[in-house]
């Protein structure tokens, strides 16, 4: 059969070997990081600030190694990550089904929307004191603040996804006799997947903020608490060491969630960033 409109599909790009592609992929990061450290050291050399106020990369590196050797770094990281992980899982388990359900019911949407948006707009920090009163100073309060921070963006994203499902796809499914369950499983959910992923990304970054708020203010353990304690002891090197660990973790989380989002949206024509 003639196929005059055919365009070549899925041309596989050949060429560079795997090792070279890997190198080219990490190289910009390494170069940029080296340049950053260099610039930092340059500032130290040129202005020679008081190391207690502004430590150089050398001091921070040293503190980092010390913290690692003394077994302070890993417990703090694992403590923070545990709160983050548990909080996130709870947020997903609650937020996704609830968001999908609210999206499918106009009445539920009407009833819950004002509260959800109010909650979304409110700074979660405002809830911290209340959460402390409820849950004390330990792990629990951190998990709760992660949940409170992450669940609403996840929920709202899912809801939005369901509400923007392409009507023509729904009609097509109906024309083939799709029931409610099939519509949900084979049209609405796949369509909503990119929205869910972007909700997760949002939830991670907001949950992270919530986690830090507690760790910095309450001293319930974790990286934030270590940062705070180092500052109280005027150990800025150590403070920077923990803060950079925090930044590294945040970067990894964000890049992972962006990848998840890109994967979930790979079928879309325009990819949301």
């Amino acid at each position: 059969m003639a196929t005059a409109t055919v365009t070549e599909p899925l041309l596989v790009k050949k060429g560079r070997p795997l090792w070279l592609r890997l190198v080219l992929r990490v190289l910009p990061g390494i170069v940029s990081f080296a340049a950053f450290i260099g610039l930092w050291q340059l500032l130290i050399v040129v202005f020679d600030p008081n190391p207690i106020l502004f430590p150089g990369p050398g001091e921070v590196g040293e503190e980092f190694v010390t913290a690692w050797r003394e077994g302070e770094l890993w417990p703090a990281v694992s403590n923070s990550m545990r709160a983050m992980f548990i909080g996130l899982v709870i947020s997903l388990v609650v937020g996704i089904p609830l968001g999908l359900a609210i999206g499918m019911s106009p009445t539920a949407d009407l009833l819950t929307s004002p509260y959800l948006w109010a909650f979304f707009a409110m700074p979660r920090i405002a809830l911290a004191p209340l959460m402390i009163v409820f849950f004390g100073f330990g792990m629990e309060v951190k998990i709760w603040l992660v949940v409170l921070s992450a669940v609403v963006p996840i929920l709202l994203s899912c809801k939005e996804g369901v509400q923007t499902v392409d009507e023509s796809l729904v009609n097509a499914a109906r024309s083939f006799g799709a029931g409610r369950l099939e519509m949900f499983a084979k049209v609405i959910t796949p369509y909503t997947l990119p929205f869910i992923a972007s909700g997760v990304r949002n939830g991670i970054s907001r949950g992270f903020v919530g986690l830090l708020v507690i760790e910095l203010t309450v001293g319930s353990g974790g990286i934030g608490t270590e940062v705070m304690q180092s500052m109280r002891n005027f150990n800025t090197g150590r403070m920077f060491a923990f803060a950079s660990t925090l930044i590294a973790i945040a970067l990894v989380l964000i890049s992972l969630s962006r990848r998840l989002e890109a994967y979930a949206s790979r079928w879309r024509e325009e990819v949301a960033v």
Partner: protein, 278 residues
Amino acid sequence: MQGAPREGREMAVEARNVAVAYERTRDKSTLIALENFTLDVAEGEFLAIVGPSGCGKSTFLNVVAGLVPAAAGEVRVFGKPVTGPGPDRAVVFQDYALMPWRTVESNVRFGLEMQHRIDSGTKTKIAEYIEMVGLTGFEKAYPRELSGGMRQRVGLARALVTEPRLLLMDEPFAAVDAMTRELMQEELTKIVAKTGQPIIFITHGVDEAVTLADRIAVVTNRPGRIKEIVPVDLPRPRSRASRQLPEFQALRDHVWDLLATERPAKAEAETVTAARES
């Protein structure tokens, strides 16, 4: 020869005094899309419906498909009253309505999945219909990687693979370019010669209707009614050359004359909305 439906021949579609009304979301006024719409489609017949935009022709198709309920009147498909969608019918949509997250193969499978008809033979069947619409080699491609014409081939395969007794096509080639449209018309003719089911084909294109159809139902302005049914007694197979025949041109002029008196009464913007609503 497929002309007007004859006595005793089984009717694929019998529509009697069908009416459909919508409520406009804007001002809650009622929009009557169809009124007293009576039309028969015979077994094996290719029926084209043409009419001004917003006249309700797509609405009629949706009623037959079971997607829109009739407010009055009755529609029977193979003798059974339509109460909803059914596996005896399949629709090809103007905007393709392919699942963008599914590959060509998986999209073709979609209808069978909805109808719980996946079995060991499904794979072969899907391959067969993908070949029929000329998409072999594109099984793993996503809709976004395909041109409009190719997407509609997928839409056609998705409908045909369910082996419907009646095929409903809602302006299927309206969104593809003119060259592709010609090609698709030719291929559709060949395909339906093989599959053989009756077709209701909604179109804006008078040439398209005359090229493809056994009969053309011309619909009036909204509320849509049948203005005239024009039998197309041109020999098959029809090709581009057929368009040079004086009979072809006479038919085309006749249909155009019927339409000329049915210009959309109100502003185009409104009819566009109505068309979307239908």
